[in-house]
């Protein structure tokens, strides 16, 4: 029966194609009121379905379609114009090769960073900070070796020994503008104030002992290398200057302040301090003449730049300065009235 009904459905659609089958069904229909009713129902349904209204395309449909097409076309080239697969494989292989070569070269270079050749080759980058400190400690107060060019002997026979190391260190410091305080001036921290003074008390000059006499509040971090002026006009110096703004009190006298908290200047409150200070500065720097230390003192900017003004603010002296080349050397110090107040160096904005 279901089979007959299925044939009726096809018949109603005009899709019963076998003429014999069609004639057979038509004969059956003539005799069977149920099947005629069934056929009527099928046609009614078809009519109902066909009565569903045709909808117009919504407004803007074609435009939206066009927009989507354009968007997809724009997104497409990125994918399709990329290298074809074999070329991509080749490109990958080539870049891998480059990476391997670079990595290999890098590894080959590495052993050369060991002091023996790196230091003697004059490579600035080969000078690691801890090495520098260690070397500075071991070399003593030999200020004369500063700036000494690298000996030919050392160059031809690269060998790791203290002499060669010290020479290289000095030449690097000369290049970088780093000065090391003479040992006689380095320790302002009293041996009582932390036990970091000289091992041999007799070795200390009277002047240093005098500085230590009233144990000054020591802002100094460490007591090893006295970096009074780092590489000028370099970024570390600017950071260093910015640090100075955070009110690092200058010591009574200039102190061998190492590290990033060191102030970029110093104060000489006596003739001997001035003399010691000037010994650190470049010889060509004109020294302030005839300073009466009973009334005045000298504030000095150790970095390259200009000392603009020194004024008293809130129980301390603020020395305003501007970093950078171009200012005459004579602008690097100011003679101001003697004051026991701490001096703060503050970059001008």
């Amino acid at each position: 029966m279901a089979h007959e009904k299925e044939a009726l459905s096809a018949y109603s659609d005009g899709e019963l194609k076998d003429p014999a089958r069609r004639q057979e069904l038509e004969r059956h229909l003539a005799a069977c009121p149920d099947c005629r009713a069934e056929l009527e129902e099928l046609r009614a349904i078809s009519k109902m379905m066909g009565s569903l209204p045709r909808a117009e395309l919504p407004a803007g449909f074609r435009q939206r379609l066009e927009n989507r097409r354009r968007a997809e076309a724009e997104a497409e080239p990125a994918r399709t114009t990329f290298l074809p697969v074999p070329m991509r494989a080749l490109a990958f292989a080539a870049s891998s090769l480059i990476v391997m070569v670079v990595a290999y070269e890098g590894l080959r270079e590495k052993p050369a960073m060991v002091p023996s050749t790196a230091l003697l080759s004059g490579s600035a980058s080969g000078l690691a900070a801890p090495m520098e400190q260690k070397a500075a400690l071991s070399m003593g107060a030999d200020g004369n070796s500063a700036g000494a060019p690298l000996g030919e002997k050392a160059a031809e026979a690269p060998r790791f020994d203290n002499t060669a190391l010290n020479r290289e260190l000095e030449s690097q410091k000369a290049k970088l503008g780093v000065r090391v305080l003479p040992r006689s001036l380095r320790a302002v921290r009293g041996s009582s104030g932390g036990g970091a003074g000289y091992a041999d008390e007799d070795e200390q000059p009277a002047e240093t002992q005098r500085l230590q006499a009233p144990p000054a509040p020591a802002p100094v971090e460490g007591d090893t290398v006295g970096l009074l002026a780092a590489v000028e006009e370099a970024a570390p110096m600017r950071r260093y200057a910015a640090k100075a703004e955070t009110a690092v009190p200058a010591p009574r006298a200039f102190s061998g302040a190492a590290g990033k908290n060191a102030p970029p200047g110093a104060v000489a409150r006596s003739a001997s301090e001035l003399k010691a200070l000037w010994a650190l500065m470049r010889p060509e720097l004109p020294a302030p003449k005839d300073t009466d230390f009973s009334k005045d003192m000298v504030v000095v900017l150790l970095a390259q730049g200009e000392l603009l003004a020194v004024s008293e603010q809130g129980g301390r002296l603020v020395a305003r300065f501007r970093l950078g080349p171009g200012a005459p050397e004579s602008k690097r110090f100011l003679v101001v009235p003697q004051s026991p107040l701490p001096v703060v160096f503050s970059p001008n904005r």
């Binding site: 009904k5 569903l52 097409r69």
Partner: protein, 181 residues
Amino acid sequence: MSNPLGESEFLEKNAALVYNLALRLTGNASDAEDLAQDALLRALKALPSFRGDSSASTWAYRITVNTWKNRVRSEKRRGFWKTVSLSLFDGGEEEGGTPREFAAEEPAAGQALETAETGALVQKALLGLDEESRAVVVLRELEGQSYGEIAEALGLPEGTVKSRLFRAREALKETLKRKAA
């Protein structure tokens, strides 16, 4: 037959057909537009390779039905396929029980209401069918496609189209009778 069909000519003749098919398959205007646009974009991309073995409209129907089946499949996979239930239309009586796209089509008010009611009824019954049956019925009853064309469009043997159409009609009859009662 093998003349290449221009894009604008293709759209001119088939965009509305595709949209109407989409409307009957999805049962609402916004899904219908999405589906129709997806299908037409695919058709336009494939148009250069269309050889004219079947009519362009049968070809476009086939793409539309396949696009629709893919969407239904992926929506089912994602687990938020919502078959538009019959009760949705029952609950829509406050709007005259009429989906918007059927409402404003006929000019004469009385007849329009009747047509709209019939339309809503038929659409509801259609949405009660499974996807394969719905596609067969829509192509046959609404688009007037022959069994051969439907078989072509759906990638089915003609015998399957015939039996599926019969079963779909039986189901529709039941739904409509129940509704009329």
